[in-house]
């Protein structure tokens, strides 16, 4: 009766397996190759030798961050797609990531200029404020522009404006302390510390659990507002919660890794195809796992393809995932029969 139930019961373990393989691959390969023996030696020792310090202080936090934040980004995109009732929505294409980026950059430059240490938490808050602001602009436009493709164009424009202002801010505050800002503003997992990892783990896991518990009303909302209301869903509350959850997730990602393109829009689409369902109960964990795998792989490519030079993660995700977005747009156009 319900094939997708069986499908997900074997697909989830398979995906966790794939994630584990990517994890091992990412730990081993890099500008300094580490063998399995070294990894085990590190895990069961104090980690004070050469490989140990590479694994523990550079590679491991970066890998965990890529998984957690990549997953978060995919779920954020899924929630946005539910909100707009449209598969061509995502935090990057709607300019929400760029809004977050702008606020984090301003916050950093101002604080660093005053010589104040910025805690990770402040960065997340700044990113969240930026997300909500660009989100409100997008929603205001959504009220006027009924066409989703046009809304995406507006979102991309908002993104450009925010990115341009971010460039100004960074250029004029050219302090040695914020030289890192440039890498970050293009999207990168390099330089992520354990502190960032713990904070993102906390925020993302809480937000994910709440999203998962909202599966039921989200599923009802997929049938349209009228029916959802008839099923007893408080529409206003649900819409606010969707926006907040999605913004918190994408803000956390942007605060630590900068704007990462197309994961939020493409991964939910790929997962719908893999899982053969749009049910939130399956899609929320599915998107998280899918986002984790894809982002981890892209980050792996970003740091190892042209080693020792690193490319930004957004460059890699764009190459692989933008074609998926084009496919969605074209397929939808072909399906619109009156």
């Amino acid at each position: 009766m319900k094939p997708e139930k069986k499908r997900s019961t074997y697909l989830f373990p398979v995906m966790i397996g794939i994630l584990f393989l990517c994890f091992v691959l990412s730990i081993r390969v890099g500008s300094a190759d580490v063998t399995m023996k070294d990894i085990f030696a590190t895990l069961f020792s104090s980690g004070e030798d050469y490989y140990g310090s590479i694994i523990l202080s550079i590679r491991l936090p970066r890998i965990i961050a890529a998984m957690v934040l990549g997953g978060a980004l995919a779920v954020s995109g899924y929630l946005l797609q539910v909100f707009f009732g449209n598969p061509i929505a995502g935090p990057y294409v709607l300019g929400i990531s760029s809004g977050a980026k702008l606020f984090v950059a301003i916050c950093m430059v101002v604080m660093v200029g005053k010589g104040v240490y910025i805690s990770s938490f402040v960065m997340v808050v700044a990113a969240f404020v930026g997300s909500i602001l660009s989100m409100s602009i997008v929603m205001m436009l959504a009220g006027k522009v009924k066409n989703m493709a046009l809304l995406v164009v507006c979102g991309v424009m908002i993104g450009y404006i925010c990115s341009a202002i971010t460039e100004f801010v960074i250029t004029f505050a050219n302090d040695s302390n914020i030289v890192n800002l440039h890498n970050w503003s293009l999207g990168s997992f390099s330089g992520i510390s354990w502190e960032h990892v713990w904070i993102s783990l906390c925020i993302v896991s809480i937000t994910l659990v709440i999203s998962f518990l909202m599966s039921k009303p989200i599923g009802a909302y997929q049938l349209g507002e009228a029916y959802a209301r008839n099923m007893g869903v408080n529409i206003k509350r649900l819409r606010i919660v969707l926006i907040l959850l999605s913004s918190i997730l994408s803000a956390t990602v942007t605060a630590f890794a900068g704007p990462i393109s197309f994961v939020g829009i493409a991964v939910p689409h790929i997962m719908r195809g893999v899982m053969k369902t749009a049910k939130p109960l399956i899609m929320i964990p599915g998107c998280f796992l899918g986002g984790a795998v894809i982002t981890l792989l892209c980050d792996f490519i970003a740091r190892s393809a042209f080693a020792p030079t690193e490319v930004s993660i957004s460059a890699v995700t764009a190459v692989f995932l933008a074609p998926v977005v084009i496919y969605i747009l074209v397929a939808r156009r072909a399906n619109q029969r009156g």
Partner: protein, 267 residues
């Protein structure tokens, strides 16, 4: 006090602006079907949307199962009133079974996982509308007629005392109309449900409705049995017909309606 729904001096319409229909008052009892008729834009849907809380009422009172509507929160509303609207839904990758299953929403737990009782209610509803063969198919790929059956099954398994149906038979061929309406009639008579439906096909009204409410000129024009309402004169007024054409229409209408009534009631 066995009114499932009663409205008193209800004004319906959109938030800013004049009421679309003024002073609507009627009662619906268990086992009754009420048909709303009237021209396009008369406000039939507006009344139904107000009852199902898609629109806020402008003034007046709505009671459901002898409870004032203010006393009912969203969840208890969902267990008392279900609906089928004219709005098309576009669920992605959902089978017909899954669409019907959404009707069980008010009864499932926190995560919405279906229990045995839910599953048997879903099966029963699908059986009732005769959609067994298509229950595994993708909802977006079945025909309009099949889709309407599924939406009706969805409303049935929500297991409410009152069903609100907005033009349940529009866009369907005559056999689908007969099937859908027979199911509705059987449901009401056998399970003592109450139905309020809007309908454009007047020929089906005598077979279905215990009471007809004609809407015209921003108000309830007349309330009565199908015999009282579907007269040449009334048709001329409600649908803005030329003088004399109403009687011609009514004569043919009643012939057709009588045949349809035989077909629907024998099922």
């Amino acid at each position: 006090m066995d009114n499932v729904l009663s409205t008193l001096a209800l004004d319906v319409g959109y938030a800013k602006g004049k009421p679309v229909v003024n002073k609507v008052s009627f009662d619906v009892k268990k086992g009754e079907i009420i048909a709303l008729i009237g021209g396009n834009g008369a406000g039939k849907s507006t009344i139904l949307k107000t009852i199902t809380r898609q629109l806020e009422k402008l003034s007046g009172e709505i009671s459901i199962c002898s409870m004032k509507d203010m006393e009912l929160d969203e969840e208890s509303m969902a267990k008392k009133v279900s609906m089928v609207t004219t709005e098309r839904i576009h669920p992605e990758l959902m089978s017909c079974y899954e669409v019907v299953a959404t009707g069980r929403y008010p009864y499932t737990g926190r995560l919405g996982i279906l229990g045995e009782e839910d599953e048997s209610a879903i099966e029963e509803a699908i059986q009732m509308v005769g959609a067994k063969e298509i229950s595994g198919e993708d909802f977006s790929k079945v025909s309009d007629g099949q889709r309407q059956r599924i939406m009706l099954a969805r409303a049935i398994c929500q297991d409410t005392d009152l069903l609100i149906l907005d033009e349940p038979t529009s866009f369907l061929d005559v056999q689908y109309k007969l099937d859908i309406l027979s199911v509705i009639r059987k449901l009401v008579k056998e399970k003592e449900k109450a139905v309020v439906m809007s309908i454009h096909e007047l020929e089906f009204v005598p077979a279905m409705a215990d009471l007809v409410i004609g809407i015209y000129n921003n108000a309830v024009y007349q309330v009565g049995t199908p015999k009282e309402i579907l007269t040449g004169e009334n048709l001329e007024v409600m649908y803005g017909m030329e003088n004399g054409s109403g009687n011609v229409m009514a004569e043919g209408l009643w012939n057709y309606a009588n045949s349809l009534e035989r077909l629907i009631c024998q099922k």
